[in-house]
C-alpha cells in the first residue's frame, strides 16, 4: 500500500509548536551588529543633502553608510527594460518611493539603531509624484528622465480591427486589480558572517537560497565558491521573497566593511513599504458574442503598475497573457500590456503573480456578458468551456493546457453549494425587499504552475544505517516539504517517512536549486527526488544481486520492508544498510531535472455573500471550492494550501488594498491601517476533492499553492455584484468595503436625472 495520498501529519510541527522555528532573528550569532535603514519619507524628491554627523555620534553607532560609500553598480532591471531604470543600493540623488533606503546605520543593538536613525537629516526637494499608472503613461512626471519615458516594457496588441465582427453584443469595462501587500508574518531578514578564511555565510529569509547566492555573485560581485547561503525557517513568502532587495543583499557587504557579523530584520512598518507589493493592474476588458451565449471575441488590455523600480512586477503581464483565455474556447482573443513605473514600492510576485489578474478579468468579463444577454452565469460558462476531450489544448496565445475537465468542476461545486436552493433564497429575499440581500458568485479558473522554471535538482543517498538522506533544491517556508518530500522517497524506497532526512535551503549542502516559487515544488522538486530514488533503487538491485549471487533480473524489491531478495526466497533478503555497506561508492544518485514543462490546475468556486443594503457591509457566508491539482500527495497539506489561498483571495476581494494619498504617501503602512484579513472575517471553507492527473510528470501532480487565491478573488467579487444585480449593478470595485458597496448601492438606487 502506498503512503502517497495519505494525510501524513507534518514532521515539522513539534519544533514549531514547542521551541518555535529558527528564523533569522532567532539565530544566535556571536557579536552580531544590527543594521537599520533610514528610508525616504517622500514619494518623489531630489536629495539635496544627507547629514549623518549627529547619527555618527549616537551611542552604539559603529558605522553610517550612504549611497556614496557603496561601490557597487545599481541593481539593473531585466534586459528588456531600459537599463537607466536601475535601483540604487542607497539613494543618492533622487528618491522615487516612500520607504526607499537612503542610509544604513550599524549599531551594537537594535534600539540604538532606531535612535540613531532619528538623527539623520535628509534635505529633500519635493518633486511631483505620479501614483496612477494610467497617468504615468502620459509622462507628465517622469521618474527616470534619462529613460525619457515611464514605460518599462510592454506587449503590443496584434491590432485586429475586426475582432468583434459578428458579435451581437459587445461589453466594455475598465476594472482595477488593486495593489495588495503580501504580508508574510515574518518580514525580510538577513544575517551575514565572514569567516577568517574569507568565506561568507549568509542567512536569508528567502524562497530560494540558491537564487540569493546567485544575486550575491551577480550584483555584489562575490565569488560563488566563497558564498554559502542558508534559508533557515522562513515565516512565509507568498512570492514577495522570491527575488532579493537592496536591503538584504547589502548585508554581507556591510559585514565585510565593518569586519563583524551583522543582522538586519525589518519592522512591519518598514515591510509595508519595503517588501514588494502584488497585483496592481488596470484592465480594460472587451467581450463580445451572440445573444444565445456564445462568446466570440475577447480583448484584455492591461496597464501594469510596476512601482518605482521595475522588478518581477513589470513582467507579471506576461503571465496574465499566457492565461488570458481562461477556461473558455474563444475564437478571437487579443491581449496587450504596458508596464509603467510610478512612485510606489516596486511590484513583485504575490500568490498567483499575474494569473489571478487574468482570471479576475475573464471571470468578470463573462459575468458582464451574461448580465448583458440576461443569461445565467453558470449557463454562459458551460456554453463556452473548452471541452474535456480537447486536451492537450492550445489557447489563442499558444499556451498548451495539459489536462482538464471544467464541466465536471462546475457541476461538483454547484451541487455542493446547492446552487438552485441559493438562487431560490436570493429570489425570496429580493421579493421581500430584505435589508440583507444574498449574492452568489462563480468563478471557473485554470492557472499555470511551474511556469518558466523548468529545472530542479534532487539527490538521494542511502546512509550506512539504512536511513535515507534527500537533498532538494526547493526551499519551503510553510508548505511542509520535509513531510511531502520524505513521503516520496519513503514510498519509492520502502522505508518509514521518519527514516528520511530532508536537506534544503543551504547552498553548501544542496548542489543546485531553483526554490519554492510558482507552485512548482512537488511537480519539479518532488519528481527530481522520485527519479533519484528510482536510480538508487536500480543501483541497489545490482548490489543485492552481487551479494546474493543472483541475476539482477531475478531480484525482487519488497517495498513494505525496503528489502531485496531473489524471487522465491524472501527469507534471504538484503536491507538498505547491507547494501549501503556493500556498494563500492555508496548508494547515491542526483537528478537534475530538465524539461517537463508547466501544468495547469483548474477549479470552480462558489462564493455566497450577504450584503446589508443600508450600510454596504458584506459578509462572506460560504466559500465552496473545487481545486483540481492533479494527483494529490498529501490531502492534508494540499487542503492547507487551498485554505490559505482562499483567505488571501477573499482578502483582496473584500478588504485589502495598499492605499496612497494624492502626494504618493502610503496610508496603509502598518497592520493597524492595512486591512489584513482575520479569523473573524471568514467562514470555514467547503473544499471538494477532484483529481485529474497530468500526463506531464510521473507523479501526475500539478501545483496547488496558488489556486485558492486565483479562484476565490473573482468568485467573491462576482458574489458582491450579484447581490446588487437586481438594482442594475454590473460591477463593484475591489476591495468591496462597506463604503464602496454603499456608494454603488446609492448610485444604483438614485432616480435617473437629466
Amino acid at each position: 500500500m502506498s503512503i502517497l495520498g495519505n494525510r501524513v501529519l507534518r514532521r515539522e510541527d513539534p519544533k514549531f509548536l514547542t521551541t518555535g522555528g529558527t528564523y533569522v532573528d532567532d539565530l544566535p550569532i556571536e557579536g552580531a551588529l544590527w543594521v537599520t535603514y533610514v528610508r525616504s519619507t517622500m514619494a518623489h524628491a531630489r536629495l539635496l543633502g544627507i547629514d549623518v554627523s549627529e547619527a555618527r555620534q549616537a551611542p552604539g553607532v559603529v558605522d553610517v553608510i550612504t549611497g556614496a560609500d557603496v561601490d557597487l553598480a545599481p541593481l539593473a532591471p531585466f534586459p528588456f527594460i531600459p537599463q537607466t531604470m536601475a535601483w540604487p543600493w542607497l539613494a543618492t540623488e533622487t528618491v522615487r518611493f516612500v520607504g526607499e533606503p537612503i542610509v544604513a546605520i550599524v549599531t551594537e543593538d537594535r534600539y540604538q539603531g532606531e535612535d540613531a536613525a532619528e538623527l539623520v537629516f535628509v534635505d529633500y526637494e519635493p518633486l511631483p509624484a505620479v501614483i496612477d499608472p494610467v497617468e504615468a503613461l502620459q509622462g507628465d512626471v517622469v521618474l527616470f528622465p534619462e529613460a525619457g519615458t515611464n514605460v518599462a516594457t510592454g506587449q503590443p496588441a496584434a491590432g485586429a480591427t475586426d475582432l468583434f465582427e459578428g458579435c451581437e453584443v459587445v461589453v466594455r469595462r475598465r476594472i482595477v486589480n488593486q495593489r495588495v501587500a503580501p504580508c508574510p508574518l515574518e518580514g525580510r531578514a538577513a544575517a551575514a558572517v565572514w569567516s577568517d578564511d574569507g568565506r561568507l555565510t549568509m542567512w536569508s529569509s528567502s524562497q530560494s537560497a540558491h537564487g540569493t547566492r546567485d544575486e550575491l555573485v551577480n550584483r555584489v560581485g562575490l565569488d560563488p565558491e566563497t558564498v554559502r547561503v542558508i534559508a533557515p525557517d522562513v515565516g512565509g513568502g507568498f512570492g514577495a521573497k522570491v527575488a532579493n532587495y537592496p536591503e538584504d543583499l547589502l548585508v554581507p557587504w556591510i559585514a565585510r566593511r565593518v569586519g563583524r557579523p551583522v543582522k538586519w530584520v525589518e519592522s512591519r512598518s518598514e515591510s509595508m513599504v519595503g517588501l514588494g507589493h502584488g497585483r496592481g493592474q488596470v484592465q480594460d476588458i472587451e467581450i463580445g458574442g451572440t445573444r444565445d451565449g456564445r462568446v466570440l471575441a475577447y480583448r484584455l488590455s492591461v496597464v501594469q503598475n510596476a512601482g518605482a523600480y521595475p522588478r518581477i512586477g513589470s513582467a507579471l503581464p506576461m503571465m496574465t497573457r499566457m492565461m488570458v483565455d481562461g477556461v473558455y474556447s474563444i475564437p478571437r482573443v487579443e491581449f496587450a500590456s504596458t508596464s509603467v513605473v510610478t512612485n510606489m514600492t516596486p511590484t513583485v510576485a504575490y500568490r498567483g503573480a499575474g494569473r489571478p489578474e487574468a482570471t479576475a478579468a475573464i471571470e468578470r468579463a463573462i459575468d458582464l456578458f451574461a448580465a448583458e444577454i440576461g443569461m445565467g452565469p453558470a449557463d454562459v460558462r458551460r456554453r463556452n468551456f473548452i471541452p474535456k476531450d480537447a486536451f492537450p489544448y492550445t489557447t489563442s496565445v499558444g499556451t498548451v493546457y495539459d489536462s482538464g475537465d471544467y464541466d465536471r468542476a462546475l457541476d461538483l461545486v454547484l451541487e455542493a453549494a446547492d446552487y438552485e436552493a441559493l438562487r431560490k433564497e436570493q429570489e425570496q429575499r429580493r421579493e421581500r425587499g430584505d435589508v440583507v440581500q444574498l449574492g452568489i458568485g462563480l468563478c471557473v479558473y485554470v492557472e499555470i504552475t511551474a511556469a518558466g522554471t523548468n529545472g530542479e535538482w534532487g539527490a538521494v543517498e542511502v546512509l550506512p544505517d539504512g536511513r535515507i538522506k534527500v537533498r532538494t533544491g526547493v526551499s519551503p517556508h510553510g508548505q511542509g516539504h520535509v513531510t511531502s518530500i520524505s513521503m516520496i522517497a519513503a514510498e519509492r524506497l520502502g522505508v518509514a517517512v521518519d527514516d528520511v532526512e530532508v536537506v534544503y535551503g543551504d547552498t553548501d549542502e544542496v548542489l543546485k536549486g531553483v526554490g519554492t516559487v510558482a507552485s512548482r515544488s512537488i511537480q519539479k522538486g518532488g519528481v527530481a527526488v522520485h527519479r533519484a530514488a528510482g536510480e538508487v533503487l536500480e543501483q541497489a538491485k545490482k548490489v543485492a544481486a552481487d551479494l546474493l549471487e543472483a541475476n539482477p533480473d531475478d531480484m525482487v524489491f519488497d517495498p513494505v520492508g525496503g528489502r531485496f531478495h531473489v524471487a522465491g526466497t524472501p527469507a534471504l533478503a538484503k536491507t538498505w544498510s547491507d547494501l549501503a555497506a556493500a556498494a563500492p561508492g555508496g548508494l547515491t544518485a542526483a537528478v537534475d531535472l530538465e524539461g517537463g514543462g508547466p501544468t495547469f490546475p483548474f477549479g470552480a468556486h462558489v462564493a455566497v455573500v450577504e450584503v446589508d443594503m443600508e450600510t454596504g457591509k458584506v459578509w462572506l457566508r460560504r466559500l465552496v471550492a473545487v481545486d483540481d491539482a492533479g494527483r494529490i500527495l498529501n490531502p492534508m497539506l494540499a487542503e492547507g494550501q487551498v485554505h490559505g489561498g482562499l483567505a488571501q483571495g477573499v482578502a483582496q476581494a473584500l478588504f485589502e488594498e495598499v492605499r496612497h494619498d494624492e502626494d504618493g504617501n502610503p496610508v496603509t503602512t502598518n497592520l493597524a491601517d492595512y486591512a489584513f484579513i482575520s479569523a473573524a472575517e471568514l467562514p470555514s471553507f467547503e473544499t471538494i476533492h477532484m483529481e485529474t492527473p497530468t500526463p506531464v510528470n510521473e507523479l501526475g501532480a500539478k501545483g496547488i499553492g496558488e489556486s485558492g487565491t486565483i479562484g476565490a478573488t473573482p468568485a467573491v467579487q462576482n458574489a458582491v455584484v450579484d447581490a446588487l444585480a437586481h438594482l442594475g449593478v454590473r460591477h463593484v470595485p475591489m476591495p468591496a468595503t462597506p463604503q464602496t458597496v454603499w456608494r454603488v448601492i446609492i448610485e444604483a438606487s438614485a432616480p435617473a436625472t437629466g
Partner: protein
C-alpha cells in the same frame, strides 16, 4: 532598572532599559525565541504570552511592567516529548504552516479556552481576531481550537 519576573517557572533577575519591550526581554535577554514579533502596532498577536494567567501581547508590555509577574510562553507547554493538548490539536489539524504566528496563536488559543471551555466556532473566530496568520486561512486553526476544547488538560499550564 531591575526586573525579576518568573518566566516559565524560573525566577529571572536582570537590569534592563526602562523602554525594553517584554517581547525583546523574553527573546534577547532570557533567550526564549519562540515568541515572535510580527508587527509594531500590537495587531498581529505573534508575541502573545500569558502574564499572570492572562494573555497579553508582549510587544505592548514593558519588561519593567512585568517585574514580579509570572510569565508563560509556548516553550513551557510541552512536557518532555508530550505536546500540550492545544499543541497536539494544532498538529493533528494542520493548524500551522510557516510556524511564525504559531507560538502566539497557541497561547491565545489556550487563553481563549480558559474563558470559553466549550466555545462555538464564532467564539473561536472572534476570540482569535487579534492573532493574524497569513498561511492557513484560519480554517485549521479554528478546527484545532474546537478540537482542543474537548481534550482533558486543554486549559492547564504546568509551569
Amino acid at each position: 532598572m531591575h526586573v525579576s519576573p518568573t518566566v516559565n517557572g524560573t525566577t529571572q533577575a536582570h537590569d534592563v532599559e526602562p523602554r525594553l519591550l517584554l517581547v525583546h526581554y523574553l527573546r534577547d535577554v532570557v533567550g526564549l525565541t519562540a515568541t515572535n514579533v510580527g508587527c509594531d502596532t500590537s495587531s498581529c498577536g505573534a508575541c502573545t504570552v500569558l502574564l499572570d494567567g492572562e494573555s497579553v501581547k508582549s510587544c505592548t508590555v514593558l519588561a519593567v511592567q512585568a517585574d514580579g509577574a509570572e510569565i508563560v510562553t509556548v516553550e513551557a507547554l510541552a512536557r518532555d516529548d508530550e505536546l500540550h493538548p492545544v499543541q497536539q490539536a494544532f498538529r493533528e489539524n494542520h493548524g500551522l504552516q510557516c510556524g511564525y504566528c504559531t507560538p502566539g496563536m497557541v497561547m491565545a488559543a489556550l487563553s481563549l479556552l480558559r474563558e470559553h471551555p466549550d466555545p462555538t466556532e464564532e467564539e473561536v473566530r472572534e476570540g482569535l481576531e487579534g492573532n493574524l496568520c497569513r498561511c492557513t486561512g484560519y480554517h485549521n486553526i479554528v478546527k484545532a481550537v474546537l478540537a482542543a476544547a474537548g481534550m482533558p488538560g486543554a486549559t492547564g499550564v504546568r509551569a
